[in-house]
């Protein structure tokens, strides 16, 4: 027998199931239990930068919207700083950079308001294009799916982004670029997430 390395093993994942809302977004699911629910305000009132909305659908392998998804967003502020001790500096008071939303039970639409993030440092050198990290869980998803939202109007930064460039199939990179439109003067980025099938969204093992 040899020695033991004595590392612990990560707890295995299980699906969030159909009732994830009551645990993580009970107010949105229709019952008030907590005086303050977490994740409703990503940027806070003091964040600098452009106020935007990001929205879309999550579409399954049959082409149908999934109506019981929960998504979490994690992003830097407009200066490219994450609200974390290792995030690269200080952020505005009230900027958390994290939020969660559920899809509409009837339509499958999701959306959140935030500020557009800035460029962040690359892993070794250079910078990453502005992006929002997403984590997607639902009934039928056994391990949360990680992806990134990039922005159509950041073509130059996107072309140099080390993560987008890691995707061998250039055609698939387009699945991570949100399309910019405008509604009532606010930029709205449309980001459809295709879990399976044609134009399947790129997911990352992070």
């Amino acid at each position: 027998m040899a020695q033991s390395l004595n590392y612990l093993k990560e707890t295995p994942s299980q699906t969030a199931g159909p009732y994830v809302h009551i645990g993580l977004a009970p107010g949105a699911a229709g019952f008030d239990i907590y005086t303050q629910e977490l994740g409703w305000d990503i940027a806070g009132p003091n964040a600098k930068g452009e106020r935007i909305r990001v929205e879309g659908l999550v579409i399954d392998g049959t082409g149908s919207p999934i109506k019981d998804v929960m998504l979490e967003a994690w992003q830097a502020n407009a200066a490219g700083v994450y609200a974390h001790p290792e995030g690269g500096g200080d952020v505005e008071e009230g900027f958390r950079g994290w939020g969660r939303v559920i899809t509409d039970f009837a339509t499958g639409e999701w959306g959140f308001d935030t500020v557009k993030p800035g460029r962040t440092p690359g892993r070794n050198v250079g910078t990453q294009a502005p992006h929002i990290n997403l984590w997607i869980v639902a009934r039928g998803i056994n391990l949360g799916l990680n992806t990134r939202v990039y922005f159509e109007d950041e073509a130059e930064a996107n072309a140099a982004d080390p993560v987008l460039n890691l995707i061998e199939w250039e055609r698939r990179r387009a699945t991570l670029i949100a399309k910019r439109t405008e509604r009532d003067g606010t930029p709205v980025y449309r980001f459809e997430i295709r879990i399976q099938g044609e134009d399947e969204t790129v997911f990352f093992d992070i």
């Binding site: 612990l8 299980q14 809302h21 009551i22 392998g61 962040t120 993560v163 997911f203």
Partner: protein
């Protein structure tokens, strides 16, 4: 500048694959392409920070957090407790742990749950807490009931509590389910069996912990949660500068 390196690679042999035919809902909700493996950048090393001001201490007591004054939830009163650790066996302090569950009859307080077992007017079914300096957490609740679900005609979920944990980096984000020692439904459950490794399945089964019971009040189950560990920066595997 990160004080430590990247997270250890996830051991995919201990997690369920995306496509698990016997858990039918996964079939149309599983990506067909492989996920693209990323070495961690600041986007993955960091994650949301929560404080004790974000929650109310009462949030961890499901016996009372939705009950009328002077009343409490119906069912077998239990304590669910344990520690959040990383793969280096270090405690993960100040991290948010959230749970949700069915009531003692197996019914969720959710508009999509139409099981004929009754709603308990004094039970909401969700709770949350933040780990202490030792990574320790506890909840007071009732043991959830088993419930039927539409997979095969006669499919029943073992008693379980859903659990969500953050850690310090977004790469550690995890949702899982806690099962209870001795439940014969565990071995029959298609969702449990999405996990391809028996040792990993066993790590989701909470043990009866007589040392933590409150005599004449509640019995206890112990459930430790392990999140991904991080490399040290002792050697040349640093995140920055190489």
């Amino acid at each position: 500048m990160p004080s430590q390196g990247e997270f250890y690679q996830r051991d995919r042999e201990r997690h369920p694959p995306a496509y698990t035919r016997d858990y039918k809902t996964s079939v149309a909700r599983s990506p067909q392409y492989s996920a693209i493996s990323l070495q961690n950048s600041v986007s993955e090393i960091t994650g949301p920070v929560f404080g004790h001001n974000d929650i109310d201490p009462m949030d961890r007591d499901l016996l009372h957090n939705y009950a009328q004054p002077g009343e409490s939830a119906i069912g077998e009163r239990i304590i669910l407790h344990g520690r959040v650790l990383d793969e280096n066996a270090r405690p993960v302090p100040n991290t948010l742990v959230e749970i949700w569950q069915a009531n003692a009859g197996g019914r969720y307080r959710h508009k999509k749950d139409t099981y004929l077992a009754p709603i308990d007017p004094n039970f909401g079914g969700c709770g949350r807490t933040i780990t202490d300096a030792d990574g320790y957490y506890y909840f007071r609740t009732v043991k959830p009931g088993a419930y039927p679900w539409r997979n095969w005609v006669n499919s029943w979920r073992p008693a379980h509590i859903h659990v969500s944990v953050f850690g310090t980096g977004f790469a550690q984000r995890l949702i899982s389910q806690v099962y209870f020692e001795g439940d014969p439904l565990i071995a029959k459950c298609p969702i449990v069996k999405t996990i391809p490794n028996q040792d990993a399945i066993d790590s989701l089964v909470a043990l009866l912990d007589m040392n933590a019971t409150i005599p004449l009040d509640s019995i206890a189950y112990k459930f430790d949660i392990v999140l991904r560990g991080r490399r040290s920066t002792l050697f040349e595997n640093r995140l920055e500068g190489n």
